[in-house]
Every structure is written in structure tokens, then in C-alpha cells.
């Protein structure tokens, strides 16, 4: 089965005052239709940057892509016509659930208006975007029959995400809603255009702990029901365990391991992954950290970027990036000295 989305050796960096920061180094990733893929790593490992690179919304001016491809439905998103991508891919085939639902809503418009605007341009019923070619998009008309149909679809989906009294809710402003309500709205907005892939960037980080589980469960349920693939970035291994079908681990801009969720937690191969899992607090509350620090990306360590903190590292690890080592069952790792344990 060909993957829905395949990131191939993507490298990019940011120009900063102190030099060029290599934020992603030949990262590869593939997601199948209808599967929930977790992207796990510490803050600063590049997962959000990868998400933004796939969507094509990197910071203009300072970001530079230095290599690689992003294949989606047979097209390389990096080299295709940006206008076509904006119309057909963004907000339609690939949608987005942001990390902070509060700041992701424009505070001076009602949530209803913002949702309907998304649908005006991105609803599945819109075969051709409204408006004439030469007039600026902002003055385009919203055909009233489609508008009514879209409005009904919105109410239906607000129900599906368990938001009470949808009609009144749509008339409210973002600051009048709770964090959980806002994130449910975001999930609804991500599903309304009927996407193939939803990129959820740490969707529960900004929420209360009690709400986190609800939101995660909601994402999982809806994704399965609608056969939508999800790329879920998170630093929370527990969340990955709960709802992901497969997990990818990133460290300092490099991808280090990928496995189906059961194998991942049962038999992690990469030294970083094993340390990450070991760092989860024990039943009695003791937690073990990982010695050392995440490297700066201006002059990162050569080869495998984890080698300064790895007790298994040798000269080989320093010199060259480890190639992909297939361990079977969809489990691969980039390491010269992985843990090999029998299941």
C-alpha cells in the first residue's frame, strides 16, 4: 500500500543572527491512509517545524529548505505550484489542529464567522472556489445554497465533537469559551473540509490534564470513524501510547526510530528511545533523566546527533549518519548499535 504522505530526506534550517541553524537533517516519515501516526520528541527536536514544513507555512524569510521531498498523493509539495497547493491541499486534503487553540482564533471575530470562512473556501461542496479570477478573494461571494448546506454540516460536526448548543456557540467570541471547547472547535474545523490527513501539533499541551484525555480520545475516535490519517506531534509518550497506531521518534532534527505502537513500547531499539521510555516516572514516582543536553543546532554534532550522550557511541557514530536498519514488522531504526531484544 503506497503511503498517503511520504517525507523523504527533508533538510531545512533557519538563518539566525548567530548562524544557520540546521533544524531538520534528512528526516523521513511515511503515513498510511487512516492511521494515527505519533511524532515524539523533546521540545526543540523539530517536530513542529516538520509539521509546518509539510503544510508549507514555515516562517518566511528565515527558513530555507536545503534538500528532500514531501510526497503527497503523488505530488512533491515542495516544488509544486504554491497557488495550487493553497487551493487544493491546505485546508482541504491536509488540515491542521494547532497547539494553542486560544491564540489560534482571531479574537475580534466570532468563532462562527471564522468557521464559515474556512468552509466558504474549503468545504467539500466547493468544486471551484467562489469569486472571479481577477478580483481579490476577499470580495468573493458565498453561494447561499452551499452556505446553508455548510452551516448544517457545521452543526452536525459540532455535535460529533460533543459541543453543546452549537447555534449559540457559533455566535460567541473566542475569549468567551473554555480551552477544551476551543480545541473541540479546532478539531471540528479540521474535519469539516473532509481531509485525508490531519496534522495535530501537540493538540493537548495547552489544555488542563483532565481535558487532555478527552480530546485525545475524540481525535482517535473521529479519525477511525472517518478513515482520516492523523499526524500527531507530542512530547507526551503516554498520549502516543493511548491513541497512535505507530510512533516516530525524533532527536535534534533527525529521525531515529519508527515502529508500530506495540513493538515500540515493548522492544525499543534506539538508545535514545530506551532512555526516553525509562525516563517516565515509575509507579513510586521516581524519575530518571537523560544525562547531557540537547545540542545547539548552529553547529550540531556530526553523524548521529545523539552520540555525545550515548554510552554505546563510537567513532562510526560520529562520522556518518546511521542508515535505516529494518528490524522487521514495520520497525526501523537509525543506529549502529541498537538494542536488539527478543519480543
Amino acid at each position: 500500500m503506497t503511503a498517503l504522505l511520504a517525507v523523504e530526506e527533508l533538510s531545512l534550517g533557519f538563518a539566525t543572527e548567530a548562524g544557520f541553524a540546521s533544524v531538520l537533517d534528512r528526516v523521513s516519515l511515511s503515513i498510511e491512509r487512516g492511521r494515527v501516526m505519533g511524532l515524539v520528541g523533546e521540545s526543540g527536536c523539530g517536530k513542529t517545524t516538520l509539521a509546518r514544513a509539510i503544510l508549507g507555512v514555515l516562517p518566511q524569510g528565515s527558513a530555507r529548505i536545503t534538500g528532500g521531498r514531501v510526497w503527497f498523493r503523488g505530488t512533491d509539495l515542495l516544488t509544486a505550484d504554491p497557488a495550487v497547493i493553497n487551493r487544493t491541499v491546505r485546508g482541504r486534503a491536509i488540515t491542521f489542529v494547532p497547539q494553542d487553540p486560544f491564540t489560534s482564533f482571531n479574537p475580534v471575530f466570532t468563532v462562527g464567522e471564522q468557521i464559515m470562512d474556512i468552509l466558504k473556501w474549503k468545504s467539500p461542496g466547493a468544486r471551484r472556489p467562489p469569486g472571479r479570477g481577477w478580483l481579490p478573494a476577499v470580495v468573493a461571494r458565498y453561494p447561499s445554497d452551499r452556505k446553508r448546506a455548510d452551516h448544517d454540516a457545521v452543526l452536525e460536526l459540532l455535535d460529533a465533537v460533543q459541543l453543546p448548543r452549537p447555534r449559540q456557540l457559533l455566535r460567541k467570541y473566542p475569549h468567551e469559551l473554555s480551552g477544551g471547547q476551543r480545541q473541540r472547535l479546532m478539531i471540528a474545523m479540521a474535519l469539516l473540509p473532509g481531509p485525508d490527513l490531519v496534522i495535530a501539533d501537540e493538540p493537548t499541551t495547552a489544555l488542563d490534564v483532565t481535558i487532555q484525555a478527552q480530546i485525545l480520545g475524540l481525535i482517535r475516535r473521529l479519525a477511525t470513524e472517518r478513515h482520516v490519517a492523523v499526524l500527531l506531534t507530542t512530547h507526551d509518550l503516554g498520549a502516543a501510547y493511548e491513541i497512535c497506531d505507530a510512533v516516530n521518534v525524533m532527536y535534534a532534527g533527525q529521525d531515529v526510530e519508527s515502529a508500530p505502537v506495540d513493538r515500540f513500547f515493548a522492544a525499543p531499539a534506539h538508545p535514545y528511545t530506551t532512555k526516553l521510555l525509562a525516563s517516565l516516572p515509575d509507579a513510586d514516582g521516581t524519575a530518571n533523566g537523560i544525562p547531557g543536553e540537547v545540542p545547539a543546532l548552529i553547529a550540531p554534532p556530526g553523524g548521529c546527533r545523539f552520540h555525545p550522550r550515548c554510552e554505546r557511541a563510537d567513532g562510526l557514530c560520529r562520522d556518518a549518519r546511521p542508515p535505516v536498519d529494518q528490524l522487521g514488522g514495520g520497525h526501523w531504526v537509525r543506529c549502529y548499535h541498537p538494542h536488539r531484544e527478543a519480543l
Binding site: R52, L55, V57, I85, N86, R87, V89, R90, G91, R92, T95, F96, P98, D100, T103, S104, F105, N106, P107, V108, F109, T110, D117, I118, W121, K122, P129, P136, A137, V138, Y173, H175, M189
Partner: protein, 334 residues
């Protein structure tokens, strides 16, 4: 409800603020260790003349009594008699107010129409050549002395090029006075000749006032737009593929405009400040020239009257701006 509370509380503070202003202005003129009567009459006045004038102007009464009388006078609209025109000061001010208001409003309109689009474009094309040009002009606009700019424009366009009249508000008798706003009255009277004359006369002074105001608006709008452009909600809309023109001209613009509206009060204060000197240069018959004439004649009461009127005007405008802001910003009253 919060909006109503805000309006009510601001209105409640309006009266004490004005009262405080009256007190302060009164104290300024009476508690400072210079005898205003002596200043009024000049160096060569005899003691007898000074004493006579003191009694005439009521300066011989104890201070609290004077303050009370002052309040009574102000409340009844009696600000004294202008030395120059020998008419009640409030009458003079009332007659001249429309001229100043018309000038100020035209200047604000100009500065908004020019300033906001320039600020938006400057932010969108950040650090481009045009951005730098706009920023240089706006920084310069805030460094030029208004009276000097007035003289410069007058020199260039009126004296040298002859494309604008030298001074005054209009040639000839003008339209039938209804509102006191010559432009409005000309239109009401359908007096095209007066309209043309009024417009050509208001052009240079309005331009002079508009430049620093536009510079301020450009700066604030640019900063506001930049702020919003880098926000998470713009990122979200971009990520969801909303067309760029919708993101900018519907969403970003409104955020930036809302923050600009809060600055209108500040800008109005700047405009009034500059109007005083600009009116003088163009011989514009507004309350600015009234103030200047009163200064030249050491007409103390007139200066006090002018101060109170201007103070009240600005407080009212700020209140109106806050009310408008509370309506257009759903995050609630400030």
C-alpha cells in the same frame, strides 16, 4: 453590560476631571509668585494703577473666594471679556470653534486615508525599499516643527508657486452660515465657488497638520499589523489555506484598525497642539489664533478660557474614542 459600566464610569469621571482642570488652571494663574496684574500692566505701572486693576479684576479677594467665583463664572459660561475684541471670551471662542474643528477633522481624515494603507503595506513588505522610504518619511514627519513646516509649505506653494492662497479661510463672503463648517455650508448652499475657495484655503493648513498625524498613524498601524501577522491565528489561517487577501484585508486589517482607533485620541491631542501654531501661520480664524493673540496682549483671562475649552474638547473626544472602541472590540471595554 461591561460596556455600559465603562461608559457610565467614564462619564462620572468626566465632571471631576474638568473640575480639576479648572482648579489647576486657576491655581496656575494665582498661586505662582508673579503678580499677573503687574505683568498685564507692564513695568511702568504705578502702584495706584496696579491696585485699581486688582480690585477691578477681583484679585484682592482671598483665594478660596476667588476660586468659588471662578467656578461660578465658568459654569455660567462667563469667562470674562477679551481685551482684543471687547466681547465675552466664550462668545469669541464659540464663534471660532467651527473653524478649528473643520481644519482638525479634514486633517484627521487626510492622515487616516493616507496613513493606514501606508502602514499596512509597509508592514506587509517589511524591510523592503518601500518600507524603508515610508519609515524614513514617518520618522521625519515627527521631527519637523509644525510651525516651520507650515511656513515651508506656505513659502513653496503659495509664495513661490502660487498654487495655493496665502492665508485665511475663504475669499469673498462665503456661503450662508449654517454649521460654521464652510465645506458643509457650501455644499448645502450649492455654492460651488465658495466650495472651491474653501477647499483651496484649507489645503495647506490641513496638509501641515496631517503630516505628523499621518506619521504617527503609519507607525502604529505598521506595528499593529506586524504584531498580528506573526500571531498564531494568522499562522492557522495560512495553514488552512485561506486566501492571502482574505487573511490580510479581512482579518489582519481589523485587528490593526482596532488598535489604531485607540490611538485616535492621542492623535487628536497632537493635532490640537499643532493647530495652535499652524493657525497662526495661515491666519486661520480659529481658537488657535485666538490663543496667540491673547498671549501677545497678555490677556490672562482669555488664555485661561482657551485652556479650559481645549481641555474640555480633548476630554470629550477621548471619551468618544473610548466608547467607539468598546463597540468595535469584542474583547470588552478597556
Amino acid at each position: 453590560m461591561r460596556r455600559l459600566e465603562m461608559i457610565v464610569s467614564r462619564l462620572a469621571w468626566f465632571v471631576p476631571t474638568l473640575a480639576g482642570l479648572v482648579v489647576i488652571v486657576f491655581l496656575i494663574s494665582n498661586v505662582i509668585p508673579t503678580d499677573p496684574v503687574r505683568v498685564l500692566l507692564g513695568e511702568n505701572a504705578t502702584a495706584a494703577q496696579i491696585e485699581a486693576m486688582r480690585v477691578k479684576l477681583g484679585y484682592d479677594q482671598p483665594l478660596p473666594v476667588q476660586l468659588l467665583r471662578h467656578f461660578q463664572d465658568v459654569l455660567s459660561g462667563n469667562l470674562g471679556i477679551s481685551i482684543y475684541s471687547q466681547r465675552p471670551i466664550s462668545e469669541d471662542l464659540a464663534q471660532r470653534l467651527p473653524a478649528t474643528l473643520e481644519l482638525t477633522l479634514v486633517a484627521i481624515a487626510l492622515s487616516i486615508v493616507v496613513g493606514i494603507p501606508l502602514g499596512v503595506m509597509s508592514a506587509l513588505k517589511r524591510n523592503s525599499f518601500w518600507d524603508h522610504v515610508v519609515r524614513v518619511i514617518s520618522v521625519s514627519g515627527l521631527a519637523i516643527a509644525a510651525f516651520w513646516l507650515a511656513m515651508l509649505l506656505q513659502f513653496l506653494f503659495s509664495m513661490k508657486l502660487g498654487t495655493a492662497p496665502l492665508n485665511g479661510r475663504i475669499d469673498g463672503f462665503g456661503p450662508a452660515p449654517v454649521t460654521g463648517f464652510l465645506i458643509v455650508d457650501s455644499l448645502l448652499d450649492w455654492d460651488m465657488e465658495s466650495l472651491g475657495s474653501a477647499l483651496s484655503h484649507i489645503a495647506l493648513p490641513a496638509l501641515t497638520l496631517a503630516l505628523p498625524a499621518a506619521a504617527t498613524i503609519v507607525r502604529f498601524t505598521r506595528a499593529g499589523v506586524l504584531d498580528v501577522i506573526n500571531s498564531n491565528h494568522v499562522l492557522y489561517q495560512r495553514a488552512m489555506g485561506l486566501p492571502g487577501s482574505v487573511v490580510v484585508w479581512k482579518y489582519v486589517l481589523r485587528n490593526a484598525l482596532i488598535s489604531t482607533v485607540t490611538q485616535i485620541g492621542l492623535i487628536f491631542g497632537v493635532l490640537v497642539t499643532n493647530a495652535v501654531v499652524v493657525e497662526t501661520v495661515f491666519d486661520w480664524p480659529g481658537i488657535g489664533t485666538f490663543a496667540v493673540q491673547s498671549i501677545l496682549q497678555s490677556d490672562h483671562k482669555a488664555i485661561i478660557g482657551f485652556t479650559i475649552w481645549i481641555g474640555a474638547l480633548i476630554v470629550i473626544v477621548n471619551l468618544l474614542v473610548d466608547i467607539v472602541h468598546s463597540f468595535i472590540d469584542p474583547r470588552g471595554a478597556r
